[in-house]
Amino acid sequence: MTWSEMQPLLSQACWDTLYMVGWSTLIAVVGGLPLGVLLVLTDRGGLLQNVVANKVLGQVVNIARSMPFIILMVALMSFTRWVTGTTIGREAAIVPLAVGAIPFFARLVETAVREVDGGLVEAVQAMGGNTWTVVRKVLVPESLPSLISSTTTTVVALIGYSAMAGTVGAGGLGDIAIRYGYQRFETQLMWITVAILAVVISLIQFAGDLAARSLHRRGGRSGPAPRLRLLKSKEPAAAEVGKVA
């Protein structure tokens, strides 16, 4: 195969992958964020403590996460048809990708939100804030750097899953690698695909890290960490940090 033959194939595949991953990430965040927050709130000692709801949610998430993606895709066929009207193509692949990613992202959200200092929740309660205020003003904004890292991890995982979407005719880079690289012995094309994937994933990881870090640097922590730093450098240094930033 010459480059002029490969080029349209590859650009179409890239576009397909990004389309599927983009939409399924969006759905995973929209669905997984509230689910993850609910897992924290309903837990023992949480603001909406409800042990039964917590156990049920936890089990649903665990079952969904234990499913290999290829099986999930087949198992969800009828649901996919109900949602998109078809079981093949890019749109059809988005449904199982999103369903698989929601519990994955929810667990990451849960971990991130648990890290938020309980004192902040208490402070907002003492101001007269309700649970919704706590979620909106404390839990989500304070865990934002972690939530961005979690989104990055989810995008990378979804790119991995999307390679299997080729089996339902959805195209994408993984599909090219299997159909051309494996089945037609187009080794060169396969390696190009691998290289593209490596570059795409590195770029996503880099962008995610950058975003998370810039938020972190801005905010830092108001807990014990800066005090430890202050002990080392005393107050004048802290004032300098303020000036530089």
Binding site: L120, Q125, E142, L215, G220, R221, R227, L230
Partner: protein
């Protein structure tokens, strides 16, 4: 670092006889895995309007539970809490979630925390605006009020900084500004200075004192440091194992024989210099403190008096405190001079040097 340097601080306090915080029979029992821990055991507290009231005790004494029960962050197991005439325990409802009325009541009670609890994702100004957002104030009003409050705590120039860029003392000032945003009558301080160095502690306490005087703000603070009570409190209570064992104004405590708090607030030290000596603690409070009793005693009975130690303070324009003096001769020889001191209206405790001093006294003396 003084707030509003142009405004002179009123010399006398703003204390009135109205009780602004009252707890009665406040009990809190924690149950976990079948075990019961009683954190509060029938606490009756009366905080007068406009005073700084300190609750002191060692860790585990129940101070934290007490202050969290005042705004019902913790639900008391039994007993009532009344703040500014409103029975908060009646607003609590059954479930663990706070209803609208309780939340409104909370927004009128300011609270500052040991670890500041500022949102790291918000600037100093946005942190101060947070309670105003909860109160549903407009953006313009919020930013005006936030800047006003930051000015009051002396941090107007840090409005755009993030908490991570501030020192501990500055963070606590932001915490105080935030607590004042809802125009509270009452400020609860949960070990607000325990994470700060001694110098910063002093400046934060001074700020609380100034706010108390200028705004007529009632401050209820809990602490494990006797210095905090000593430097700003009008009244104090000592907690031990979930109970209030002593409470009252500073001069009431001084007037109470054997008061541990008074002994810790006005520590006097020193042992007899010889076998046949009598050591006496003289407590001054009220009018008697204005008389030069020690020199009168020396002249009247022609005895030499050594002062071993003294801790005197001026509270409300009157000198209060304690002095430890040594008289020559055994106790039996000094019955008459001691009688003279008692006649002057002073409280006299003959120190039995064999008796061990309490732990609290030693802590306070350090």
């Amino acid at each position: 670092m003084h707030p509003c340097p142009g405004t002179p601080t009123p010399a006398h306090s703003t204390v009135t006889e109205t009780h602004v915080i009252t707890t009665s029979g406040l009990t809190k029992v924690y149950r976990s895995r079948g075990r019961e821990v009683t954190a509060l055991d029938g606490v009756d507290l009366h905080v007068r309007e406009g005073e700084v009231y300190g609750v002191i005790g060692q860790s585990g004494a129940g101070k934290s539970s007490l202050i969290r029960c005042i705004n019902l962050l913790e639900r008391p197991t039994s007993g009532t809490v009344t703040v500014a005439g409103q029975d908060l325990t009646a607003l609590a409802g059954r479930g663990p979630r706070a209803g609208r009325e309780l939340r409104q009541a909370r927004s009128r009670i300011g609270m500052v925390f040991q670890h500041f609890n500022l949102l790291s994702s918000r600037t100093v100004r946005d942190n101060v605006e947070l309670p105003l957002e909860i109160l549903g104030k407009s953006g313009k009003e919020r930013s005006r009020r936030a800047l006003e409050l930051l000015d009051l705590v002396g941090l107007a120039d840090k409005a755009g900084a993030y908490p991570a860029q501030l020192s501990g003392g500055q963070k606590q000032r932001v915490g105080i500004a935030r607590a004042l945003a809802g125009d509270p009558k009452v400020l609860l301080s949960d070990e607000a200075t325990s994470a700060l160095d001694p110098e910063t502690t002093r400046s934060i306490l001074q700020l609380l004192r100034d706010l108390n005087r200028q705004l007529g703000l009632t401050v209820l603070l809990i602490t494990h440091e006797m210095d905090v009570v000593k430097s700003i409190c009008d009244s104090a209570a000592l907690m031990e194992q979930g109970r209030v064992v002593e409470s009252g104004t500073v001069s009431e405590l001084l007037a109470t024989p054997g008061s541990q708090l008074a002994a810790a607030l006005f520590p006097v030290d020193g042992a007899a210099s010889g076998e046949d000596r009598t050591v006496v603690d003289v407590t001054f409070h009220g009018e008697a403190a204005t008389q030069p009793v020690i020199s009168q005693l020396a002249r009247t009975y022609n005895i030499d008096i050594s002062i071993l130690g003294a801790a005197i303070d001026t509270v409300g324009g009157l000198q209060v405190g304690r002095m430890r003096i040594e008289l020559p001769g055994r106790y039996e020889d000094n019955v008459v001079p001691i009688g003279f001191l008692r006649e002057q209206g002073l409280q006299i405790d003959v120190v039995d040097h064999t008796a061990p001093e309490t732990l609290l006294v030693k802590e306070g003396a350090q």
